[in-house]
């Protein structure tokens, strides 16, 4: 098999297309690069889905936590505490064992038949857990940023007659994002790192369709040689990290565009936020 044929056979193996059998003998670099890269599709899927949905829940949670009313504040505080205070690994196991307890055939609600079996598969169940998890971490970041909006900005907004929704939309939200963005970039990077846990935490890899680390682990188990597959995963993740820093850097530039260049906040990668 030439390398081109390998790519044709395995490039979308993680989604169930192409060759059904994974390579069993004569492993070569091309196969490992292709399959592990194919698994990376799942990491990107989980990361992008959880981040893009989590952004909105995180904003809502941060506002609720900053609210003076206890009936909004308390639930938000508890949500953030539970998801930030416990290991993601346990959250995955907990979610999986809760989801398998749902009745197999589906549930009847008001005569409506709802299937439940799809919830136990990784693409739905694990994505849901990651969504809640990243919402909690990002909400804490946004809450911190919301608290450090300069008092003068808010007073100036009120002096201009802005209040309620328009004050939030024009002053608080953009400033919150600008202040939170470097930390949020970190959160995004470590969320992508956390997606590697999915197939090691109860969620089964249906028909051996797994993520990058799942295939790397497969190769390491088969060849007894950890020195090839794991560096390949590392290589892919470093690329992913740089891509993320680039993309988030563009947003950061836009958020800071009204400021003089020496006061702009720069994105610095700090391993401060992992699960």
């Amino acid at each position: 098999m030439t390398c081109f044929e390998t790519i044709q056979a395995y490039a979308f193996r993680s989604l169930g297309f192409g060759e059904n059998l994974l390579p069993r003998t004569d492993f070569n670099l091309c196969q490992q690069f292709t399959l592990i890269g194919s698994g990376l599709i799942w990491n990107v899927y989980f990361g992008v889905l959880a981040l893009s949905l989590g952004f909105f829940l995180a904003t809502a949670l941060a506002l609720a936590k900053a609210s003076p009313r206890a009936r909004f504040r308390k639930p938000a505080e508890w949500f953030i505490f539970v998801f930030r205070g416990s290991p993601l690994f346990i959250q995955f196991f907990l979610a999986y064992s809760a989801l398998v307890m749902l009745p197999r055939g589906g549930v009847e609600i008001f005569g409506l038949h709802i299937a439940t079996s799809w919830l136990t598969s990784a693409w739905a169940g694990a994505a849901f857990v990651l969504f809640l998890n990243t919402s909690a971490y990002a909400a804490e970041i946004f809450y911190g940023a919301l608290q450090s909006i300069p008092k003068g900005d808010l007073e100036a907004a009120e002096a201009y007659g802005l209040s309620g929704w328009s004050k939030f939309r024009r002053i608080q939200w953009p400033t919150m994002l600008r202040l939170a963005w470097p930390a949020y970039t970190n959160e995004a990077i470590f969320l992508f790192h956390a997606t590697t846990l999915v197939f090691f935490s109860g969620f089964p890899a249906f028909q051996q369709r797994g993520d990058a680390l799942y295939y790397a682990n497969y190769f390491a188990d088969k060849t007894f040689n950890p020195f090839v597959p794991y560096p390949i995963v590392a290589f892919y993740f470093i690329l992913l990290t740089f891509t993320l820093i680039g993309l988030f850097g563009l947003v950061n530039r836009r958020l800071n565009r009204h400021l003089p260049s020496n006061t702009r906040s720069k994105i610095r990668l700090r391993p401060q936020l992992i699960r």
Partner: protein, 293 residues
């Protein structure tokens, strides 16, 4: 454990539950919490030591040492930590066996990597094939601890490197002008002052370490996650205590245990931060000075 537990099938209600929760396997489960605590107690200081070494190496004037230190501090930034966990456990195991092989059987002719196998001479197996099960478990645990120390050492090196750079330059220059040598400046001025800058990062790291302990399960150690899965899975009538799938309840217990651990550490660490900020030239220290006036 109790005498009335002799025939579990005849029990009901509360006494069934008492007997169930004190069965031999559950006692193993409770002991596995100790495994986690031992891991934390051993890993935290050794990771700190690794981190200190890494940060010192990254500041070193000798170029190769500096490169090593910089690589070590940078390695956890772009790559998921779990990749390192899975990698180091096998790599360390094979590395140790390879070194022992070089010493024990120097005239072994066959190559060690034969196709898909890693084969050292039988005498070089670690721990040796004839040793008791407990030694295999201890060896596995030691490898896991060492792996944790390497990975968390890299995180700690990041924090300590940042903290060393955060100590005001003027302090070091003053010390130099008093005629202290580089080593004296490092020991007497830099290290005592850096802790207050390092503490927020280190307390964060401690939380991360607590939350990383369930990963022991992936490294093949029989830890709390292993026992929770084992005990919680559905048991048929063939077992002494048959029950349906109870994994959910076991994981809820684990979740609560972890929440208590992180919450408790948070409270203790915030007290420690207050103590260390006392009299420091930082915003927190200044606020305390103002409040005391």
């Amino acid at each position: 454990m109790f005498s009335f537990c002799a025939d579990p099938k005849s029990l009901e209600g509360f006494s069934w539950l008492v007997c169930y929760l004190t069965s031999a396997k559950h006692v193993d489960f409770y002991w596995s919490f100790l495994t986690v605590l031992v891991l934390l107690a051993v890993t935290a200081p050794s990771a700190l030591a690794f981190g200190f070494g890494g940060a010192m190496a990254a500041r070193s004037p000798i170029a190769p040492l500096r490169w090593f230190g910089k690589t070590y501090t940078a390695m956890v930034r772009g790559v998921p930590d779990i990749v390192f966990f899975l990698f180091f456990v096998i790599a360390l195991d094979q590395g140790i066996e390879w070194m022992k092989h070089q010493v024990v059987c120097p005239d072994w002719k066959e190559p060690i990597r034969q196709g898909l196998e890693f084969r050292v001479c039988p005498e070089a197996k670690v721990p040796s094939g004839s040793s008791a099960q407990i030694w295999h478990q201890l060896y596995g645990f030691a490898l896991a601890v060492f792996t944790f120390a390497i990975v968390f050492g890299a995180f700690a090196a990041n924090v300590l490197y940042g903290a060393m750079n955060a100590v005001p330059r003027a302090q070091l220059e003053t010390a130099e002008s008093y005629g202290m040598s580089q080593g004296q400046v490092f020991r007497r001025i830099l290290v005592p002052q850096m802790w207050t800058y390092a503490l927020p990062g280190l307390s964060n790291l401690w939380m991360i370490l607590i939350k990383a302990t369930p990963l022991l399960f992936l490294l093949g150690v029989k830890d709390i996650v292993y026992w929770a899965r084992e005990l919680g899975s559905a048991k048929t009538q063939a077992y002494a205590y048959p029950h349906p799938d109870w994994r959910l309840w076991y994981f809820i217990v684990l979740l609560i245990v972890y929440l208590c651990m992180t919450r408790g550490s948070e409270i203790i660490l915030s007290r420690l931060t207050r103590r260390l900020s006392h009299g420091q030239a930082t915003a927190a220290g200044e606020a305390m000075r103002r409040a005391a006036q």
